[in-house]
Amino acid sequence: MLREEILTTIEKNSRVDVHELAVRLGSEDGVIAEEMSRMEEEGVICGYHTMIDWEKTGMEKVTALIEVRVTLQRGQGFDGIAERIYKYPEVKSVYLISGGYDLLVTIEGRSIKEVSSFVHTKLSTMENVLSTSTHFILKKYKDHGTIMAKKYEDERQMVTP
């Protein structure tokens, strides 16, 4: 229960400090701190990241989603192939997917060329990879539950009964 409350709160804002979290959840600083470090140890909390809209920074950044179809060999599962892919630092995420293809891979690079070159030279040439299909992201509307474009404006009247 407390775990769930901590997680749903810090999922939206990981910068809430322990004391504030304790106040907001009606708990104690020590209890929260202990629960948090336990969850970190157990790998429930895997990291604290910052959401950045790179587009607004002027820095070049290209993201592509790549559908990958693979062939499995005797004694080898998806995990092994996935591992070979996710070890590349260019790869931001790898999911095993049900349906028309097997793995969904997210790749980030500085240019379309850089991403394509990675796909052609590294990904498609892997022994188990049958085919790839690359989709470049043109615009992010919403990411990690956050709407990118919208800036919250309070349109309510200043004082109401």
Partner: protein, 387 residues
């Protein structure tokens, strides 16, 4: 020319909030903690259902008492939440916000000279609606030492042989006070003994930060003498949709429906379709909002404690009602100076009745980040005053 006005209307004072609103409006860069409505948007699936109903061309009147499907969902909700059964056909009416239900109930039940008991501080409409219905408002001043709950003794003392109705405005705007089962049981005893009726305004019932919510209609013998008012504004963040409902024994509801039929015709059709979706699939939204409010409430209570500002812990609605008597100013002076010097708008307690003097209504229908900024300024302001 003759006086075109009705004498009763002329006696009604404009709401104290209005006055403050005018001051705030002139201040462009002020931040506000003065709002009495949720900061959340109506959940998208609910809005989508409203849009869909428009696309489908469902733009006609509904029956006077509201869409059958909506009334059925309302009765299911009340069964689920309170384990109370209402007949959707004869005991439920969909209204234009909870406020229309309050007005219709008073007009349907009050005869000239009947006294209506209004515990204060409270929402601003009970008093004028009573007057317009020909009744006589009799105030019960609630006390901080009772956490602004109504006690049986206070009720007993206010009753005369003209008393007919008791208004129960809990969870309360502006204090955030609640009534628990034991409180309601004691009130019910007095109500039944004196053969009174109750109008219970439970518009904030989903914003309740304790376990075991109890409504007066759950107390034996009370449902048959109570008009139950609720709505979608606060629970589902639907203030602008203007949708509420009233449930009452058929003998009362039948007359309320007449007033509604001739004054209103029916509640907005689009809103009614959206409300069906809210009741059917909105439970998670309600929980999400309640949890967020509860976190802010705890945050404010802790902040007040740290700055040494006296405030009883409220368990309902989205208001806190801190006491500012130590500063030797009226609520209005405090609120005005706070606005002028720190540019934060809060509502003076007196906007909700004279007995709100010495208190402020602070709304936490704002994000934690907003609250932090505003509370920072309050702390600064208080330190200045204490010097």
């Amino acid at each position: 020319m003759r006086n075109p006005l009705n004498k009763k209307v002329e006696t009604i004072k404009p709401s104290g909030i209005r006055k403050f609103f005018d001051i705030v409006s002139e201040m462009k860069d002020a931040i506000s903690l003065g709002v009495g409505e949720p900061d959340f948007d109506t959940p998208w699936h609910v809005r989508d259902e409203g849009i869909y109903s428009l696309e489908k061309g469902r733009t006609f009147y509904t029956s006077n008492s509201g869409l059958k499907d909506l009334k059925i969902e309302i009765t299911k909700y009340l069964k689920r939440k309170l384990d109370v059964s209402y007949d959707f056909n004869t005991e439920v009416m969909v209204t234009v916000g909870g406020s229309e239900g309050i007005d219709a109930a008073l007009r349907a039940m009050v005869d000239p000279g009947d006294e209506v008991l209004i515990p204060r501080p409270c929402y601003v409409s009970y008093d004028p609606c009573t007057v317009l219905a020909g009744g006589v408002p009799v105030y019960i001043d609630l006390k901080e030492e009772n956490e602004f709950r109504l006690t049986a003794r206070e009720l007993e003392e206010a009753i005369t042989d003209k008393t007919k109705i008791l208004i129960l405005p809990f969870p309360n705007n502006p204090t955030g006070a609640i009534m628990e089962r034991k409180d309601l049981e004691e009130i019910a005893k007095v109500v039944i003994e004196h053969d009174l009726f109750v109008i219970t305004d439970e518009i904030y019932c989903e914003l309740y930060y304790k376990d075991d919510y109890t409504s007066i209609v759950q107390i034996p013998g009370m449902k048959e003498r109570t008009v139950y008012i609720n709505g979608f504004s606060k629970s589902y963040a639907m203030t602008g949709w203007r949708l509420g409902y009233a449930c009452a024994p058929e003998v009362i509801l039948k007359q309320m429906l007449k007033i509604h039929q001739f004054a209103i015709m029916c509640a907005p059709t689009t809103s009614q379709y959206a409300a069906i979706e809210a009741l059917k699939n909105g439970e998670d939204d309600v929980k999400m909002m309640r949890d967020a409010y509860d976190q802010r409430r705890r945050f404010l209570m802790e902040s007040f404690k740290n700055m040494g500002l006296k405030c009883f812990e409220p368990y309902g609605a989205f208001y806190v009602f801190p006491c500012i008597k130590e500063f030797g100013m009226t609520s209005e002076e405090f609120a005005t100076r706070f606005l002028e010097e720190e540019k934060v708008a809060v509502v003076p307690g007196t906007a909700f009745g004279d007995c709100g003097e010495g208190y402020l209504r602070i709304s936490y229908a704002y994000s934690i980040d907003n609250l932090k900024i505003a509370i920072g300024r309050l702390e600064k302001f208080i330190e200045k005053l204490r010097k």
